[in-house]
Symmetry: C2
Subunit: 351 residues, 2 copies
DNA sequence: GTGAAAGCGCTAACAC
DNA sequence: GTGTTAGCGCTTTCAC
């Protein structure tokens, strides 16, 4: 019972050759309907399933897609993006007979590059997802070009790319947050950014700055964090210890925003009365902190789905169109309110 | 340049047969040192790498391990366990020439079972990790037995298992939390549990109950949550609306604890003065909420490492010993303090 | 329309 | 010791 049946067994039972079975299975022309039916019946009877490994060998394909997650250990459990993204990817792959092979690297670029090299050298995957595209020339682009590994990038709409891209504009969400704050009367709106070499670190900061200027305001201070709670807390302290602290802070992710709220509490600064705060991601926790966080919703599952579809298309057809996802949108909760402290508003205005 | 060299090319260049190359590569006896050197030189010169796919076919092995993550969509981004666990797994697999194939299912048991079936039918993996073992007969055990797929389970030390297990006792951590609370003078210690069909839901609750009794106390109420923030918030409301609310709550994870703290804030209940709270996981955020959360540290990375080592051993050698990980430990922060409200202590005592 | 046979690239049993 | 050869299970070309 252990040894599973092979195509030869099916052929024998159906009274045809192996080739015929193969043709029948893949609905290729050249096999009479009656014969095909007989073959399929034999296959079903034997419980035959084509061997994925044998197909992989003769097709010189892996029938698998790869994702290399490069994250510092601290952020590994806290980043809500990847799990959701992966879930989205899976919904597409499951039906396509493709698997997802994952690699996580916690070290630096060397280790990450080694990860891609390994995936390519072993022929483990037919293509990879490139998340967190670095701003200003991501070294992985050249690497994958060299490895001849098809890829789909996750990036901003405006950045050119040698690979098909799934783009999502963080801008509208950030702009909506700034507009919301400006509309409430905030004049001094600060930003806690993510690492600037990452597109979502750089891009959100850029969007914040542009949006603030749109409202005729001078961008408040901006501090670069690292997307971790610890980093968010440190950045927030820097901002709040300033002589003229901001009356609102736009954070590049929820985790830093939540840590920021905590710092404010510790300093006796009330939210939202004394300080308004917005996050980014709309993690499940965002609605359950005190006060519930106004944040920008990011559809990571949707990105995963779109990226998987695009990469499948690229791998199967040799080329694929980039797709642009609907922009992020603001979810208003209770961490934002009109600036309560006239003094701080006055200070901000008087700059 | 595209077509990579095959073992035949190497054999030709080295002036030997394919078989010799294979032997040389795998350091098998039966090939003269000089010949071996010549072969390796030829291989290096041609930049030859053995084809993983061909090896997989002739070995009838996948050289990959599988993990099926079954999680409801809401929890996907918030559960800190898997990313860390996977990182631990990877550290072991990278050097072993094994890959990790991931599957995430958000639906019910049917979908999950289908996931394992697919992995097995396609021969995608040589073994799988079984996390979240269900308490009281996990259906996956029988399924994997049927599929003849080697597996390693993640479970509690005391549960018997037909597969090698990596066990971690949540008990000591929970007991330490209860001891800490009891030592502070709490008499009415409640619990917000995880789903009881899961071992970490059930086990933590059991440990809480046993520990409370150890201190001669009657277990306070316990409410079953679902490990999400929303669930933690709801459970906390139920507990705090009670006539005789607890003076301390032991949560089965950080996420629910953080949501619980929020609910307390909203109800005007001060933490830790009016209510002490402990979590479980020690997520990065735990130290950056207000107040910083006293919690139990869980070494998910270490579990991943141990599980990977065990599964590799099982797959390669056909059998493996279970391993028991060092117990979880308490991290005391500032969400716990002596019960401040004498009335509630009195009430609890008077039950 | 159908079947035979030659790969895909490596492994391992078996002669030499 | 070293080389030869027959698989692993499927795909696909090419005669029939």
């Amino acid at each position: 019972m252990r040894k599973s049946p092979t195509i030869a067994d099916v052929a024998r039972v159906a009274g045809v050759s192996k080739g015929a079975v193969s043709f029948a299975l893949n609905n290729r022309p050249g096999v009479a309907p009656a014969t095909r039916a007989r073959i399929l019946a034999a296959a079903k009877e034997l419980g035959w399933q084509p061997s994925h490994r044998a197909r992989a060998l003769s097709h010189s394909q892996a029938f698998a897609l790869g994702l290399v997650m490069a994250r510092p250990p601290e952020l590994l459990g806290a980043d809500p993006f990847f799990p959701a993204f992966i879930a989205g990817v899976e919904t597409e792959l499951a039906g396509a007979g493709q698997a997802l092979v994952l690699q996580v690297v916690t070290g630096g670029w060397e280790e990450e590059a080694a990860g891609y090299r390994r995936l390519a050298a072993d022929g483990r995957v037919d293509g990879v997802f490139l998340s967190d595209i670095r701003h200003g020339g991501d070294p992985r682009l050249a690497l994958l070009e060299e490895l001849q590994l098809p890829a789909v990038t996750l990036q901003r709409p405006d950045t050119p790319s040698s690979f098909p891209a799934v783009t999502l504009d963080d801008g509208p969400g950030i702009r909506a947050a700034v507009e919301h704050l400006a509309g409430l009367g905030h004049r001094r709106i600060a930003h806690v950014a993510g690492p600037q070499q990452f597109i979502h670190g750089f891009g959100r900061r850029e969007a914040w700055e542009a949006a603030v200027r749109t409202f005729g305001l001078e961008p408040g201070p901006s501090v670069v964090g690292d997307f971790t709670a610890a980093g968010g807390a440190a950045a927030t302290r820097r901002l709040l210890w300033d002589d003229t602290p901001p009356s609102a802070i736009v954070y590049a992710n929820d985790l830093m925003a939540i840590a920021g709220i905590t710092v404010a509490h510790e300093l006796g600064i009330r939210i939202p009365e004394d300080l308004s705060v917005t996050g980014f991601d709309d993690t499940e926790l965002a609605g359950h902190v005190h006060p519930p966080l106004t944040t920008v919703r990011l559809d990571a599952v949707g990105m995963g789905r779109a990226a998987a579809r695009t990469l499948l298309q690229l791998v199967e057809a040799g080329s694929a169109e980039s797709v642009e996802l609907p922009p992020t949108e603001l979810v208003v909760r209770r961490s934002t309110a009109p600036p309560g402290d006239p003094a701080s508003v006055g200070r901000a205005t008087s700059r």
